[in-house]
């Protein structure tokens, strides 16, 4: 009993309630008993010691350090060779001025390549186009994906057919799709035929600088929707249906259910999709290439960053410039990802506190109002 009390006094009992102290002390006594059991069992193992020689110990220690690395080495080597090395190589290349790829000569090390870039009309255009493309494609794709996912999530007629048709782009070659789109948007293509039905003039979708961005963005959106929809749909199907039952009993309309339950529960997924879509959109190149027969738009008006890189790697281009653009692109992607994930943390800000503060202010102004009256 003495022992128990000593232990009890060790622990800080804030509550000076005799019952709780007794409880506490019995708890502690239990803990002591448990420790004794463990110690005894440890002693038992100590009685039959297994000895190792010094060499064996060192061997074991070294081996224990090496083994984990061996396990991850296949993947690690692949990353080093195909990812890390190229990135650093590109970084160094971007600082080599007047770099000659064939013989490895360069005139100096510095920011020359970067400085040149900002005097290049096509680069400025490429940045503008790429950012416009990303800013349009990402939200539009996600909006459509959310819409389609909610539609697919509901019971509706012909759902299976719709679903299959819907995921077709995912399994079709993008080049093939590109040609189909070229046909759809060409001068006497599907869309213009449709436009013609209403008696309107044909629209030069692919051959006018006015509409080319629109076509490019639609193509990007169309390409991005299936994947995003699939992910969102699987997320949506995991939401407990009884949340909706509960909300309906509270008189929530379908829109309110969507806004208050579906959307908030999908925010993490939406953000991840936004980042993925942003990264792939920043790299837009194939689409331009396929839609405009390998040209950067009808009047060279659709340069994108990667197209610019591609052109600089071609024949007469400068590898140093291409490397500099690649590095800038990487930085933009990095900043973009940080921004999107910052949006996620933004949700964690305590709005109720802000709300309260504002309400206090409101209270003050409203009392002032009544006083004036």
């Amino acid at each position: 009993m003495k022992n128990k009390q000593a232990i009890a006094s060790n622990t800080t009992t804030i509550n000076v309630d005799s019952d709780s102290i007794v409880q506490q002390s019995t708890l502690d006594a239990n803990r002591v008993a448990m420790h004794m059991v463990i110690e005894n069992s440890l002693k038992a193992t100590k009685d039959t010691p297994i000895t190792y020689s010094k060499l064996e110990k060192i061997k074991y220690k070294v081996w224990a350090k090496i083994v984990p690395w061996l396990y991850i080495s296949p993947f690690l080597i692949a990353i080093l060779v195909f990812s890390v090395y190229p990135i650093f190589n590109t970084l160094f290349m971007s600082f080599k001025e007047d770099y000659n790829y064939i013989n490895g000569d360069y005139s100096g090390i510095g920011f020359g390549n970067y400085e040149d870039l900002f005097d290049n009309r096509f680069f400025i255009q490429a940045i503008g186009n790429t950012l416009t493309y990303v800013v349009l494609v990402v939200p539009i794709t996600l909006a459509f994906a959310i819409l389609f996912a909610s539609m697919l999530n509901k019971q509706m007629k012909g759902k299976a057919l719709f679903q299959t048709a819907f995921f077709l782009p995912l399994v079709t070659s993008s080049i093939a799709i590109g040609y189909v789109w070229q046909f759809i948007f060409s001068g006497n293509g599907l869309i213009n035929w449709f436009v013609g039905l209403f008696g309107a003039e044909s629209i030069p979708w692919l051959t006018s600088s006015k509409y080319s961005m629109f076509v490019l963005v639609s193509y990007g959106v169309w390409n991005g929707i299936p994947f995003a929809t699939m992910i969102l749909l699987s997320n949506m199907q995991r939401i407990n249906k009884r949340y909706y039952t509960s909300a309906r009993m509270d008189n929530a309309s379908s829109w309110q259910q969507f806004k208050k339950i579906t959307l908030p529960m999908m925010i993490p997924t939406i953000l991840v999709l936004a980042v993925l879509n942003m990264l792939s959109s920043l790299k837009v190149f194939n689409d331009v290439f396929v839609l405009f027969n390998g040209e950067p738009g009808p009047f060279s008006n659709l340069y994108t960053l990667v197209y610019f890189v591609y052109q600089n790697l071609q024949g007469g281009g400068s590898r140093g410039t291409a490397a500099a653009v690649a590095i800038l692109l990487m930085m933009i992607a990095f900043i973009g990802a940080i921004v999107v994930f910052a949006l996620r943390n933004f949700r964690k800000i305590n709005f109720t506190k802000i709300f309260k503060r504002r309400e206090k202010l409101n209270g003050i102004t409203s009392t002032l109002d009544t006083q004036q009256q």
């Binding site: 009884r242 009993m249 008189n251």
Partner: protein, 378 residues
């Protein structure tokens, strides 16, 4: 508000036939009381509750709230508060927003009407005053349920008991016509469950809301409700007060179902105004008020506390002590009388193995049931 279920039936159709979860159920739930739907698993409790809430449509029958037939009302028109077993709080909202959720929806619903009609008050002022009103109402209900310090937290940071209190607050804040709870506390440990039951009783008394409480735990049902409806295979066996259920079960199923300790029963026959057990070991004189035909096969039931243990005397029957179990104040003796095992309450442990005791059943506590139908015999 009074709830009347008039012959409601729920049929679930599947590929291999159909089954009736609820079958021709008649039930009246009194205004301002707590009624428990009690029954084993699969007895149709949840189905019944879901039909009252409008989550499930009825196959046939009628449901009335007060005098109004609401059988075909959609759930959003019924104004019911529903508490789920797994709380179902919205994880992305604070506790405040969770509780305010039904009010906020009403608030927006109100605008549509108010917009054109209420020309005196500006839309913005309306909005402000409603916001303040919501805050006051949430705070007052949070006070009752001791949730005030938790209002800014998220559901995931609360314990199960706290979460369920939030769910109750959310159900009550819209001042529902009826409050429906489906096994609300069965995810919680016994102590906490008891505390929450007490709280539920308090709140129900304060608000006077008609409450239907589904449980498979008869002790909880006894503790919390004014009236208990025992369900079996989708029909109501008996709907009466806990005391009435305990002392006057209408049939053997109810008698056997109710009670912390299983009821004792002896199978036998009436011979010359006397009950004789099948093994002829136990004989009980019928009272004058027991009007049972001769030669009828019956079950004699009595609760463990309805019998007395003593030294064997003439009017008693002899039994062999099999087992003692200590329950706080009392000792439960398991004894064997003839071929029948029974449990009786005693004041002390009887340790000597195979000791013999006399058992006297208080005739007032004896219930007779028809052996073939299980119905109570007067």
């Amino acid at each position: 508000m009074k709830i009347v279920l008039e012959g409601i039936t729920k049929e679930f159709k599947s590929k291999d036939g159909s089954n009736y979860a609820v079958k021709d159920l008649n039930l009246e739930i009194k205004d301002g009381e707590i009624t428990a739907l009690l029954g084993g698993s699969g007895s149709g409790k949840s189905t019944t509750l879901n039909m009252i809430a409008g989550i499930l449509p009825t196959t046939s029958g009628k449901i009335y709230f007060g005098d109004q037939d609401i059988t075909n009302f959609p759930m959003e028109k019924r104004n019911v508060g529903y508490v789920f077993q797994d709380y179902l709080l919205y994880p992305n909202m604070s506790i405040f927003d969770n509780i305010a959720f039904p009010l906020k929806l009403q608030q927006y619903a109100g605008y549509a009407n108010k917009f054109g009609l209420d020309k005196g008050a500006s839309w913005l002022q309306n909005r402000k005053s409603k916001k303040l009103d919501i805050r006051q109402r949430v705070e007052s209900i949070a006070e009752i349920l001791q949730l005030t310090p938790l209002l800014n937290r998220r559901p995931s940071t609360l314990s199960g008991g706290q979460q369920q209190r939030v769910a109750i607050a959310r159900a009550l804040i819209k001042e529902p016509a009826v409050l429906l709870l489906d096994e609300p506390f069965s995810n919680l440990d016994a102590r906490l469950s008891l505390a929450l039951h007490e709280e539920l009783l308090q709140i129900q008394k304060r608000t006077g809301v008609t409450t239907v409480y589904v449980t498979h735990n008869q002790e909880d049902a006894m503790f919390v409700s004014n009236s208990i409806a025992i369900l079996k295979d989708g029909t109501c066996m008996q709907n009466s007060s806990p005391q009435e259920l305990y002392t006057n079960p209408r049939n053997f199923y109810v008698a056997n179902f109710i009670g912390k300790l299983p009821i004792n029963y002896v199978s036998g026959q009436i011979v010359d105004g006397k009950f004789v057990s099948d093994d002829a070991h136990i004989q009980i004189e019928l009272l004058a008020e027991n009007k049972i035909d001769d030669r009828q096969s019956v079950l004699v039931c009595f609760r463990p506390e309805g019998a007395e243990v003593a030294k064997y005397r003439e009017e008693q029957f002899e039994a062999l002590v099999v087992n003692n179990s200590f329950h706080g104040k009392d000792v439960m003796l398991k004894v064997k009388a003839g071929n029948t095992f029974m449990t009786v309450v005693h004041t002390r442990v009887i340790d000597e193995p195979q000791s013999k005791v006399g058992i006297a059943i208080n005739p007032k506590y004896i219930k007779f049931f028809d052996k073939s139908t299980g119905e109570s015999l007067k």
